[in-house]
């Protein structure tokens, strides 16, 4: 009997070793991922009793700060966003029990004073009781951001402005959005309701539509197709395309038509500034699935954009295997229809890379971080993310985009103040099927000044029901872009 009791001892001991192993897994191995879980508010509870640093725009406007609660409150501090919804896409919200988003989340360590550097300095603070929180300076300029908000007005859509040479985000505005102050309530039930409401509201207001949502880009995508074709040598500026109203790609009986059924053709400049679909369908078929997919990839399609904000939308175009079976979709993909989808931020980066001699910069919203005494903790250095095209090609496309402004689809609306020359490409992404009421995303991407580019911009108006023509994107989105660029260049 003793032999069996010993075996039982070994068995019970084994059970406890299993428990010990699992404790190690949870408390050591998975500690970081558990702590980082967005639903884990333990840290938040602690943080609500500590001051938290500010988020400040590059022009010195405080957009997030901690306010001391009146004595006797459950928590010592509450989070406040003085600009309301204006910077929601960048600051995100900081909730009591549902975690945080955007910079409130990614810059949490700095704001709460938990980076190694701050902790070392904080050792002294243990005795002096000094504040160890840090602040985050963002690249956005409140005046450009306000201009973007005012220019978009009450329409739904996104405006993204980038600094061409550094990749710094100067404006990131989209509607619908939310007021992060609403999320600063310190009650679980209330928050649950707020989230339920936010999630049920059409247009995903809780997502930063400017970079977390992707949309069909329409003809703005022709910039990518043109770059691919020029770099591959499939077309040159001398190439001439036949005047035609429709073009029948292989594998289908359904011809591709131009906007409004117009007849369209000519040299590369002509088809680019008039935005001829038939010509670009031919170009993308000429390039073929492999070259087109490779070109899209060179522009960052299919990869997460390395912006310093969480969860950017990943652009998509299609795979080689898919296009080989579906050549008509490759043809319309060449002018941004079909399966093609990119975020407004991504399209602004496309415009910026043209303006920047073919170099696509890593976009960023954090300019620098500082400790409580104003000493620099970290500064974001501009870096090149991708080189999607040669400098020569970039310069050619730049010329083409100037043509769009001066005599093409953006002629109507991109006449900037002070005779500053802009460069642009318009897009009208058709959303309706044949026979349905016309609906489209109206796009414009561009940059200015054209000779020494400073700012790149992407404007997208979501799901408009205006009549679709080659000029729709220009006439709707163009004035928005003009107002924002005027405001930015006036600074």
């Amino acid at each position: 009997m003793n032999e069996r009791i010993r075996r039982l001892t070994v068995f019970l001991l084994f059970l406890y070793i299993v428990l010990f192993a699992q404790l190690n897994v949870l408390q050591v191995g998975r500690k970081d991922s558990l702590d980082a879980d967005i639903r884990n508010n333990r840290q938040t509870v602690r943080d609500y009793n500590e001051p938290r640093g500010e988020i400040i725009t590059i022009d010195g406007v405080v957009v997030a700060r901690s306010q001391r609660n009146p004595a006797g409150s459950e928590f010592a501090f509450r989070r406040e966003y003085p600009a309301g919804e204006l910077f929601a896409s960048v600051t995100g919200y900081y909730t009591f029990s549902f975690g945080a988003t955007q910079l409130e989340r990614t810059m949490n360590d700095v704001l709460a004073g938990r980076t190694v550097e701050q902790q070392v300095k904080g050792l002294a603070a243990l005795f002096t009781g000094a504040d160890t929180t840090g602040s985050v300076e963002i690249t956005l300029d409140s005046r450009i951001q306000e201009a973007a908000r005012d220019a978009l007005g009450d329409r739904e859509g996104s405006v993204v402005v980038l600094d061409v040479t550094t990749g710094a985000v100067k404006a990131l505005w989209s509607r619908p959005t939310f007021d992060p102050n609403v999320f600063a309530v310190q009650s679980d039930e209330l928050l649950r309701d707020i989230f339920a409401f936010g999630n049920a509201t059409p247009g995903k207001p809780l997502l930063a539509n400017g970079y977390q949502e992707r949309y069909m880009p329409g003809s703005t995508f022709k910039v990518i197709t043109t770059a691919a074709a020029l770099d591959a040598g499939v077309v040159t500026v001398e190439s001439v395309f036949a005047d035609e109203a429709e073009f029948l790609p292989p594998q289908t009986d359904d011809p591709i038509t131009n906007y409004g059924g117009t007849t369209c053709g000519g040299d590369l400049a002509e088809v680019f500034i008039r935005s001829c679909n038939t010509a670009f369908a031919r170009i993308s078929l000429q390039l073929g699935p492999e070259a087109m997919v490779a070109a899209a990839k060179r522009f960052g399609v299919g990869v997460e954009i390395p912006i310093d904000l969480p969860r950017p939308a990943v652009a998509r175009f299609g795979t080689v295997a898919f296009f080989e079976q579906n050549l008509p979709l490759l043809a319309i993909g060449g002018f941004g229809q079909g399966e093609t989808q990119l975020s407004p931020l991504h399209m602004a980066m496309v415009a910026a890379s043209v303006a920047n001699g073919g170099r696509m910069m890593r976009p960023h919203v954090v300019s620098a971080t500082y400790d409580h005494d104003g000493r620099l903790l970290d500064r974001t250095d501009p870096s090149v993310w991708l080189v999607p095209m040669t400098e020569a090609t970039a310069n050619r496309i730049s010329e083409l985009m100037i043509g769009v402004v001066n005599e093409g689809t953006a002629r109507c609306c991109m006449d900037l103040a002070g005779d500053v020359q802009a460069a642009a490409k318009t897009g009208t992404a058709q959303l309706n099927g044949p026979g349905e009421p016309e609906r489209s995303h109206a796009w414009i991407i561009g940059f200015a000044p054209a000779d020494r580019p400073k700012y790149a911009i992407a404007v997208m108006l979501k799901g408009t029901d205006a009549e679709i023509s080659a000029g729709t994107g220009g006439t709707l989105a163009g004035p928005v872009a003009k107002k924002v660029l005027d405001a930015a260049l006036a600074l």
Partner: protein, 462 residues
């Protein structure tokens, strides 16, 4: 008195070690209590003096009881129990002032029951005589919560009984009664069951009459599962029966058949009962059910993760976010505030407690005591494993208390009685091995006196 005059170096050494360990456990408890208050409110707890008084009283009474009533017993059993009880109390006090007061009462009653058990049960073998009473009591206690008007459900499981002003969980006591019954029954008939060779086809099974009571016990555990929706207790009872049958009969076949049929019952329960399915699903993936049934276990995961290696420190964590932190999930609260180190200390304490029980089982020669000690150690070991395993997601979560640590009167009192029985067994083998002089008990002296009088009378008559 002759008892105090008999010198026993082994007994005094054991009691000296015991008091040192008990004092150490008291210091840990008191230190933890102060730290928790400092962490939570940044003040020395206002009730520190009554607390220290109560702590001192409890430890002194428990130690003196062992010193007087079971001085040959193992020196580690009592200190481990006081440490677990103390740390559990600190966690409960840290979670809720109101419950702390109640838990103090329960601890008093528990230690009282401990002393009473040592006092009443002076010869363990006497208990074997009452095995049928224990079976009846055990089954009766199990059925009680299902009886309308008496039993009631709380938190999903129908394991409560309300008698007048007192609410209690009879299952906690039923497990003791049934362990006593099975130990006694198998001590008497284990050999028979093991050697009987009645053939049913290829199967070699014991005589039906020998096995019927054990089948009843098996039935009881299924009843608990179905009738009371208490999966944890069901698993505990079942493991207890199987382990004891195997220990007594050496027939691995019983284990296989037993666990096979129990597994079948579990599968059936999984398909028949929604709550069983939910438990299993939540175990496999609490995250996708975060807003519902998975919330509790997810919070436990967060708590353990936030504790990390060294813990947040007592009073500095946020264990109130875990539903039922005082009860089923107290281990997660410990893991949060004391970290991997503190949680491991609790695990080691249980391993030592189980080890102490099984050592008592190994040392005694009497079959009944052997089986009983094994059964009691198994109860503690498996019960703690089931609930800790549920909290850390090694097994599906089933609501059951963590012995000595969780809040709750029934559990605490039952476990103190269990501890008294283990100490009694340990002490009686020390006496039998001659380590301690085997003095007569009060009852034996009364009995002897009566016998002498009867003899004297018969002689007179003769």
């Amino acid at each position: 008195m002759s008892e105090s005059s008999t010198v026993s170096p082994i007994a005094s050494r054991r009691r000296r070690i015991e008091i040192q360990l008990v004092v150490a456990s008291g210091l840990v408890t008191a230190g933890a209590y102060v730290l928790a208050a400092l962490g939570k409110n940044a003040t020395i707890p206002p009730r520190i003096l009554p607390f220290l008084g109560i702590l001192l009283a409890v430890l002194t009474v428990a130690h003196l009881a062992v010193r007087v009533l079971a001085r040959g017993a193992d020196a580690t059993l009592l200190p481990i129990a006081t440490l677990l009880n103390g740390l559990g109390y600190v966690m409960i006090a840290r979670l809720s002032d109101r419950l702390a007061g109640l838990q103090t009462t329960w601890t008093f009653i528990g230690v009282g029951a401990f002393v009473a058990t040592l006092l009443v049960v002076q010869r363990v073998n006497d208990l074997a005589r009452y095995k049928w009473s224990f079976l009846a009591t055990g089954l009766g206690l199990l059925v009680l919560p299902v009886i309308p008007g008496v039993g009631f459900a709380s938190g999903g499981a129908r394991i409560w009984v309300s008698l007048g002003p007192i609410n209690f969980q009879p299952g906690e006591f039923a497990k003791l009664a049934l362990a006593l019954f099975i130990a006694a029954y198998l001590a008497e008939r284990g050999e028979l069951i093991a050697t009987s060779r009645r053939h049913y086809g290829p199967l070699r099974l014991p005589e039906a009459r020998d096995i019927v009571p054990l089948l009843a016990a098996w039935g009881a555990s299924v009843l608990i599962m179905v009738g009371q929706r208490d999966l944890g207790s069901s698993l505990l009872f079942f493991t207890l029966f199987m382990v004891m049958i195997w220990i007594a009969t050496q027939r691995i076949g019983f284990l296989l058949v037993g666990f096979g049929s129990f597994a079948a019952a579990c599968v059936a329960a999984y398909h028949l009962f929604d709550h069983v399915q939910t438990r299993v699903e939540v175990w496999l993936d609490p995250w996708s059910r975060y807003e519902g049934k998975g919330y509790q276990i997810a919070q436990a995961m967060f708590a353990l993760g936030s504790g990390g290696t060294t813990g947040t420190g007592l009073g500095l964590g946020d264990p109130t976010r875990i539903p039922e932190a005082k009860n089923d999930f107290i281990f997660a609260a410990v893991g949060e505030e004391l970290g991997l180190l503190g949680a491991t200390a609790i695990l080691i304490a249980f391993v030592l407690l189980i080890g102490g029980g099984l050592r008592a089982a190994l040392r005694t020669r009497r079959e009944f005591e052997k089986l009983l000690a094994t059964g009691l150690a198994t109860i503690v070991g498996v019960q703690a494993f089931i609930i800790i395993g549920g909290v850390v997601r090694v097994v599906p979560l089933t609501g059951i208390t963590l012995p000595f640590v969780s809040y709750g009167g029934s559990s605490l009192v039952a476990n103190w009685i269990l501890l008294a029985l283990l100490i009694r067994i340990s002490d009686s083998s020390a006496r039998r091995l001659g380590e301690v002089p085997d003095t007569t008990t009060i009852r034996e002296r009364v009995e002897a006196w009566r016998l002498r009088r009867v003899e004297a009378r018969t002689e007179q008559r003769a």
